[in-house]
């Protein structure tokens, strides 16, 4: 652990540098990019979940005024297939063209494209395209998709089984044989719709042999790479810009059909092209998240000691394999299922299945919320079974603080952790001891009150490149940074990360400021443009940016600092060991009155006529940082709910959380990430569900049916933190982007079940809507009569 010697800005609540332009509407988003002579792309999407495309009649559409081009899949095969970045053993990969050529495999699958002078003309022409469909039998449910005789989504694969992914450790048979108590539960982790505030959009122009493409993406460098490879352009001739991006949550962690199509069309039509998603279109055509059905069994002793955990899950991956889809239910899920507990035996078999539904990929937490839910629900089932306090059961099974680094039964090495203090602080904030009185008071009001605990560990810092390779991830897990100090002392940080709400412009400036001894206000952080990036950036997802990209910034800043020290020592005629860089000044220790300004040093670097012997002119550094391990943040969340006894409606009345993400660069940003994440996780627990009918039609097809919670739905959060540094990186940082979502869903679900436990209710699947709860209460009442 070699943190920055005297942190000044790291750990401070520095105001977000991003806010002034976003609040005043000065930010430029992809749809704001308007180019001379621009044409508009609209896609015709299949209304059928599964149908052979017999014939497409485009004649009437082509006659519509303003239409530039009407194209079907066969016209667009030059764009190549959509990429998949992860291969897991036994994986059966689907062919995935931007426009379906043979059949539509989900409602929303694109079957034709229209380009016109205006959006209106494109939409009118799209309505005139007549597609002759032959509807085919539909399969929506993943388990049914794996049964013999199920409709096959990709005939050439022979079955709907995408992969079988087994992970085992210890002697699971012995664990269940020795068990004094066994609990089992089927747990559904329902499908969700990501709902980034900004829908997707792509704009592109092709000029002088160079394609410039603006996209709402979390991974501009991957978009650049795939667009170049698929369209046969030099990577140097493709510039991808992710301007302001209004949220992603994994839904913009793809190379989508529209990116390939808009790039291809701008090039072939020789005019700029734009595509902007409509919200309802996004519900169908942007990836979904989660969708697991798990059978969970826990073996334990009567005193609560866990002996073994067995899980069988089917994950619904939708109609096609997306970029990271094979890794979400496997690498990012199965390994972390043991969570914060010492579990001697573990046996997990995950199967992925194709269905006639929108493809499923990463959604905030991506595999880890699914893990925390099944572990934390089954822990509560065990606590209930043996009559033990859920907090005590967790404490008893926690990996002890002195056991780190800890090799888990699933094969991970947890870097650092101290789980009990986070639990204790959360319990104190939640007034856990006083809860039963509040339960009794609620009962007197005719309501049910419950409290739910969720202790989690998650995986961040994706990822050591060698670990990536071993796991089947087809690319390194490093991140890049370049720091350029101009002659005047103006500082620019270029990062390979691509923030879309994560405040990197502020945090990265704080990190560089401490190394360079200047103010974050004097540092500009630039991102999201491949033409000025430090090189290959991997991007922003999986709470990786700080623990990988932030470290790259730190290391680049340290390199620049080293050169500043060398030049300063030369100009001050002192030993480098005696030079201090602080407060925008460079001076010899003890002689601050004889300081050089930071700008004097940078000017000297570019005047280049008085530098130490053999030193190159200029003042900049580029770093690619490949982490040695993942990082493992943790924490405990506690939700308290009150259920209206007459309607079943749930109100979250209190919420306390203690999270440990290692060193915090900016606690205000940490809290902001938690506020959003917790609200999003509560959304899954109480409200959200993508619901299909048996014909594969999305019933929850708009925000009129699908409730994304807002501040109105949640109480003021009480947050605290512990700081357990990691020795994986020099700043001791771990990551916080997804923790809120991972911790909150099981806490809220456990609280609802706890509220209903006096009625003998053991489990209800999410979302815990008022009607489901009312039915459970009514059924429990009838059972007792």
């Amino acid at each position: 652990m070699t943190a920055t010697a005297n942190p000044t800005y790291i750990g401070e609540r520095v105001a977000r540098k991003e806010d002034p332009r976003l609040i005043t509407g000065e930010g430029t988003f992809t749809d704001d990019v308007v180019l001379q002579g621009m044409a508009y792309l609209t896609l015709v999407r299949s209304p059928h979940a599964h149908a052979r495309i017999r014939r497409i009649d485009t004649a009437a559409a082509k006659k519509e005024p303003g239409v530039v081009a009407v194209l079907t899949g066969k016209d667009l095969e030059a764009t190549g297939m959509l990429p998949v970045f992860i291969t897991v053993p036994s994986m059966s990969g689907s062919k995935h063209m931007p426009i379906a050529t043979d059949k539509a495999r989900y409602a929303g699958d694109a079957v034709a494209a229209v380009v016109a002078d205006s959006r209106d003309a494109a939409k009118r022409a799209a309505d005139l395209i007549a597609v002759d469909y032959e509807p085919l039998p539909v399969v929506v449910d993943a388990s049914k998709a794996l049964e013999p005789g199920a409709p096959i989504v990709h005939e050439e694969l022979g079955s709907n089984l995408m992969f079988t992914y087994p992970v085992k450790g210890g002697d699971i048979d012995k664990a269940f044989k020795d068990a004094e108590v066994k609990v089992s539960q089927r747990i559904v982790n329902q499908r969700l719709i990501p709902n980034a505030m900004e829908p997707r959009a792509v704009t592109a122009k092709f000029e002088a042999g160079e394609l410039t493409l603006w996209s709402t993406t979390q991974i501009p460098h991957f978009v650049q790479l795939i667009v170049a490879l698929n369209l046969g352009l030099g990577q140097n001739k493709v510039r991808v810009i992710a301007p302001e991006v209004g949220g992603g949550f994994g839904s913009k962690l793809q190379v989508y059909a529209e990116e390939l199509l808009v790039g291809h069309l701008a090039r072939t039509l020789r005019r700029p092209v734009k595509w902007t998603e409509e919200r309802r279109e996004g519900y169908l055509a942007t990836i979904h998240g989660r969708d697991h059905v798990s059978d969970v069994e826990l073996a334990a002793k009567k005193d609560g000691t866990i002996l073994g955990l067995r899980v069988r899950t089917v994950a619904n991956v939708g109609a096609y394999l997306q970029a990271f889809a094979p890794g979400i239910p496997t690498i990012l899920h199965v390994f972390i299922v043991p969570g914060p507990y010492r579990i001697p035996a573990f046996d997990y078999e995950m199967r992925g299945a194709y269905t006639n539904t929108t493809p499923v990929d990463a959604y905030r937490g991506a595999g880890r919320p699914e893990a925390a839910l099944l572990t934390e629900r089954i822990m509560d089932r065990l606590a209930d079974e043996i009559g033990m306090d859920p907090a005590e059961l967790r404490r008893k099974n926690f990996i002890p603080a002195d056991a780190f680094p800890f090799n888990t039964i699933s094969g991970l090495t947890y870097d650092s952790g101290d789980y009990a203090p986070a639990l204790d602080r959360a319990l104190a904030m939640a007034d856990y001891k006083g809860f039963e009185k509040r339960r009794a008071e609620a009962k007197a009001r005719g309501n049910y009150r419950g409290i739910g605990i969720s202790s989690y560990v998650e995986i961040c810092g994706l990822a050591p490149s060698k670990a990536n390779a071993a796991l089947g991830v087809g690319w390194g897990g490093y991140e890049s940074a370049r720091i350029r100090v101009h002659a005047t002392g103006a500082v620019q940080v270029f990062t390979g990360t691509s923030p879309h709400g994560q405040s990197h412009e502020t945090s990265w400036a704080q990190i560089a400021a401490d190394a360079l001894g200047i103010s974050p206000n004097d540092i500009e952080v630039r991102h999201g443009d491949t033409s000025e990036s430090p090189g290959m950036g991997v991007g922003t997802f999986g709470s990786r940016s700080l623990a990988v990209g932030g470290i790259a910034v730190h290391k680049a800043a340290e390199k620049v600092r080293e050169k500043v020290v060398q030049i300063g020592a030369h100009l001050l005629e002192a030993s480098p060991a005696d030079v201090v860089v602080e407060g925008g000044k460079v001076f010899v220790k003890g002689v601050p009155e004889k300081a050089k300004n930071f700008g004097d040093i940078s000017m000297a670097a570019y005047l280049a006529n008085n530098l130490p012997e053999g030193m190159e002119p200029g003042l900049e550094a580029t770093v690619y940082y490949d982490p040695p391990n993942f990082t493992f943040p943790f924490g405990t969340h506690i939700a308290e709910v009150e259920i209206d006894g007459e309607t079943g409606a749930v109100q979250i009345v209190r919420y306390s959380a203690c999270d440990d993400c290692g060193r915090q660069i900016n606690p205000m940003i940490v809290e902001g990430q938690l506020h959003g994440g917790i609200t999003q996780g509560i959304g899954q627990a109480l409200y959200e569900a993508a619901v299909y009918d048996n014909d594969g039609q999305l019933l929850s097809g708009s925000m009129m049916e699908y409730h994304v919670p807002s501040a109105e739905d949640v109480p003021a959060f009480e947050l605290d933190s512990t700081v357990t540094l990691t020795n994986t990186n020099p700043l001791g940082v771990k990551g916080i982007g997804e923790a809120g979502t991972i911790g909150s869903t099981p806490a809220a679900a456990n609280a609802v079940i706890d509220a209903l436990s006096p009625l003998g209710i053991k489990h209800i699947d999410m979302p815990l809507t008022s009607e489901k709860i009312w039915r459970a209460i009514r059924a429990a009442g009838e059972g007792r009569r």
Binding site: V691, E771, W774
Partner: protein
């Protein structure tokens, strides 16, 4: 987005608006636009002409007439209704219903006339309009017509308005002494529409006996309705908890309840009884105050 072209006019009198409606083929009146514009964006409504009523200032007044009738102009926004001191004092169920519509942006633009003309089965304001026994005053090619609210709601998106008739105002009669009223709503978590909304208006005798009860229910059935069985059950009682529960239990009698992702029909019927109870309780306590 709206892909179909349409013409736009903004007349300054209601009579002119009626004439323009008649002159254009597929014409639609627009007020706040919160029902019509979404339908146009989805292509479910494709009018050739929009007649905008917002320049007709007289339609935005809330007026108390000599006999105590409160006339609410059709173009009054939900927000203005919810904030109006007269409405809050004399028609609290209407103020509460208007304040419970959608969200702040919707309340700031949406109008009571638009809501009643559109007749969405889950709109809030039909419930108090029914319970207060209001009259819908419409202007059409043949002049002025007063429609009793009991004759007004015909079904989902169906009303008694004739072709080219425009609502001018909604007229709420003066309440008798010792009258209390309230609106209780169970909102759809996503849309904010009423899964169930119940407006109760209760008048007591000087001895504290329920002389008259009127209960309007929205969100539960194809159209807003009066829960007459519940009204009869409550009338003549002393309004104690038992009487309220017995009356509320009848608030969904005889209806065919709607069913959707958020609430099945039997859950909806249950919610009607719960929110009828809550509305009656509050109305009674106000009547006693």
């Amino acid at each position: 987005m709206i892909t179909h072209p349409f013409t736009y006019q903004a007349p300054s009198t209601i009579e002119e608006a009626v004439r323009e409606l008649g002159r254009n083929g597929e014409a639609k009146v627009i007020a706040g636009g919160h029902s019509l514009l979404p339908l146009m964006k989805l292509g479910l409504a494709q009018p050739e002409a929009l007649i905008d009523l917002r320049r007709i200032a007289s339609l935005r007044e809330i007026r108390t007439e000599d006999d105590g009738t409160i006339a609410v102009g059709a173009l009054t926004t939900h927000r203005d209704i919810a904030a109006d001191p007269t409405v809050r004092a004399k028609l609290p169920a209407l103020a509460e219903a208007a304040g419970a519509v959608g969200d702040l942006q919707v309340r700031a633009r949406g109008t009571i006339g638009g809501s009643l003309a559109h007749a969405d089965p889950a709109a809030d304001e039909p419930a108090p309009t029914l319970a207060y026994g209001a009259t819908i005053r419409a202007i059409g090619p043949k002049g002025r017509r007063d429609i009793k609210v009991g004759d007004y709601f015909k079904g989902t998106f169906e009303t008694a308005l004739a072709e080219n008739e425009i609502i001018a105002e909604i007229r709420f009669p003066a309440a008798a002494a010792r009258t209390g009223s309230a609106y209780a709503k169970f909102a759809h978590p996503a849309s904010g529409f009423a899964i169930t909304g119940v407006a109760a208006v209760v008048t007591l005798t000087s001895e504290g006996i329920v002389e008259r009860a009127a209960i309007g229910v929205t969100g539960a059935a194809a159209a807003a309705y009066r829960a007459t069985a519940a009204e009869k059950a409550l009338a003549g009682t002393n309004g104690n908890a038992k009487a309220i529960a017995a009356a509320a239990a009848k608030a969904a009698d005889g209806i065919t309840a709607l069913s959707d992702l958020a609430a099945s029909s039997d859950y909806r019927k249950h919610l009607v009884t719960v929110f009828a109870k809550r509305a009656i309780e509050r109305a009674l306590s106000r009547a006693k105050a």
